[in-house]
């Protein structure tokens, strides 16, 4: 079992950071590398996936298997290219073309492709990725380099070279390449080199039992996090670090048959953890980081009433954010840190409200110009409840779970209450969490009364719903930030 460390030990982590040794460099123009000639790129509009309304017109991209050189490089090249294709293929902006339909087979990263081979009828690739994988027999370093071609523009749009100390890191390099391509072709940062923490549930086991687990965003590398606890709820990733908050039901140290709900901070890399809320005298839960990671908003249930509080992690100063006899819960900061969205049943049904993080009064969109402490942004429209709000890291949308009509569905709404859209049609869809670029929402789905909960994701456009594979049942997904290159 992981030892709980004191705050000082957390501080010392800063000195002990481990570097992965990942180096990245922009690759030179093709014409300079192998002596191949290439026309100087003219001023050409960047290739971009087209968005019409809320929908992408998927950009047709070809990713042939990368070339390989060095011991074991062939297998790595094959798997790495498979992961790139799977990443891009799982996202709404791309249509990954079938590699069996490619005509040009002798691609060379040092040469420009024969563009005409990629524009033939039926293939019509708009983007082409040509790369290679080298494993240095002496140093065992893995080098991955690639070029992204705008096929119809006949220009290189981007090129990059990555070097890591061991081939074991090939999967992360694949995600890095996918993230580059996503950024180049959509203008939004990618999200493929990121991880998802969730609560793993064993079918048939006591539903109270649940362990912290982590996986890559594509479901690879799933493993338990050794928190030492067997009844974990509501893990929440820091928006900036590989650190999470979670709640755990634990044995009361004073009375062995009693239970406390504590809130913990947990460093995913080291397994070190710290108690944030002891769980005695009051019940703190539903904690989330502020965008800068320095504060935490949470719900506190005390004497039959639940309100929202904030704690400054450095000073441990607590501020009561709401003071109402209704249940206020599930707070989530806007990415600029200036507002908080939360759920309240003060108006007879459960609805979403926003407030200023400094608690100053605000003029509500439907308030007729008068100032209020909070503004309601969802409205019944047929007896619906709106719950589990989470502000997008882009700031443009708030995801929620809507309850009514015998089901829970995931939807999004803007902070002024406009643009409400329902994205899913599950039996019970809840606990939404945003991809770090705010384009994809992962959520917990209980597909039917008879089936256990699983994790799904859907694009903000409402398309591309897919299951994120987990080894067992899973609840409470929380999507972490894109991993850093240290």
């Amino acid at each position: 079992m992981t030892k709980t460390q004191n705050a000082g030990a957390f501080g010392r982590l800063l000195a002990g950071r481990i570097r992965s040794g990942l180096a990245a460099a922009l690759l030179g123009a093709a014409g300079l590398i192998g002596g191949a000639t290439l026309a100087t790129p003219t001023a050409h509009a960047q290739l971009r996936a087209q968005v019409v309304g809320e929908q992408y017109i998927p950009l047709r991209i070809a990713v042939p298997d990368f070339d390989a050189a060095g011991p074991g490089a062939t297998d790595i090249a094959k798997q790495l290219t498979d992961v790139i294709r799977a990443d891009l293929g799982s996202s709404a902006p791309f249509r990954v073309l079938d590699k069996s339909s490619f005509i040009e087979r002798d691609l060379d990263i040092t040469k420009a492709p024969l563009f005409g081979n990629w524009t033939v009828s039926g293939l019509e690739a708009q983007a082409l990725v040509v790369g290679n994988v080298q494993v240095d027999a002496g140093t065992n370093q893995l080098i991955v380099q690639y070029r992204l071609w705008d096929v119809y523009g006949q220009t290189q749009q981007f090129a990059m070279s990555y070097k890591v100390p061991t081939p074991l890191n090939w999967r992360r390099l694949a995600h890095k390449v996918s993230d580059d391509i996503f950024l180049q072709l959509t203008g939004d940062p990618g999200y493929f080199d990121s991880r998802v923490v969730f609560v793993s549930k064993t079918p048939g086991d006591d539903p109270f039992r649940g362990r912290l687990a982590i996986m890559d965003q594509d479901g690879a590398n799933a493993e338990f996090l050794l928190s030492g606890f067997t009844s974990v709820i509501n893990p929440r990733f820091s928006p900036t670090e590989q650190v999470i908050l979670y709640g755990a039901y634990i044995q009361d140290p004073r009375y062995p048959t009693a239970t406390l709900l504590r809130t913990y901070l947990y460093d995913v890399a080291t397994g070190r953890q710290e108690i944030l809320a002891e769980g005695q005298g009051q019940l703190d839960f539903s904690a989330r980081f502020s965008p800068d990671g320095r504060s935490i908003v949470f719900s506190r249930a005390q004497k039959g009433n639940t309100d929202i509080y904030m704690i400054d992690l450095a000073t441990r100063k607590q501020t009561r954010m709401t003071n109402d006899s209704a249940i206020e819960t599930s707070p989530s900061f806007s990415p600029d840190g200036r507002m908080i969205v939360y759920q309240s049943d003060r108006g007879s049904s459960k609805q979403l409200y926003i407030m200023n993080a400094d608690r100053s009064p605000m003029v509500c969109p439907r308030g007729g110009g008068t100032k209020s402490d909070a503004c309601r942004i969802t409205f019944d429209g047929g007896g619906y409840s709106f719950t589990d709000p989470v502000w997008s890291p882009r700031g443009d949308w708030i995801a929620f779970s809507r309850q009514g009509g015998g089901q829970f569905v995931i939807g999004v709404v803007q902070k002024d209450g406009t643009g409400l859209r329902i994205l899913t049609d599950g039996y019970q869809d809840e606990s939404p969490t945003w991809s770090p670029n705010g384009r994809v929402i992962a959520f917990e789905r209980t597909p039917s009364r008879a089936a256990g909960p699983k994790i799904y994701s859907i694009d903000l456009t409402g398309r591309n719903e897919r299951r994120l594979p987990t080894p067992r049942d899973a609840t409470n997904p929380t999507w972490g930030p894109v991993l850093k290159m240290e």
Binding site: L13, I233, I275, K350, T387, Q428, R449
Partner: protein, 182 residues
Amino acid sequence: MRKLSLSALAFTMLAASACASNPPPEPPKPTEVAVVTPPKVTPPVEPTRPTPPVPTGPAAGSKGDFAAKATDRVFFDYDKYNLDADDQKSLASQVAWLKQFPSTKVEVQGHADERGTRDYNIALGERRAQSVKSYLMSQGIADSRIQIISFGKDKPLDLGHDESAWARNRNSYTNIIVEAIS
């Protein structure tokens, strides 16, 4: 495959925190212990053997005694936390027992059915537990003898997914955490 070891923990606010933490608690044990009724003593096969004393039931002031003499669970309507006449009758039996054994302590556990989000149901479960605590206190049980916890929808009594299961899962259970020494 291994991941890159990226423990880039620029986590300065933790460095600044001065609050020392406790050692890790043991994983929670089941809090609802089944009432164990001692097995009936079968007639001695050999009459020459001494006859063991016949148990008369759970020890006075024990968890088992509470379960035998008081109604340990009350049920709620959907999204409600008020106590009706039946609930108050059940709680009166708890009050009587708690008054008989003033050294005992209880944990009131609030539960909700699965219809609702995890967060809301924790809040609702806390309200239900607080309703019971308030009632017990109104009948003269000291605040210091009652702690509350909410399990929300995460610890259902009934694993079914229909009206009857939901009705059973909207409850508050009174768990004896300090027994009387008899």
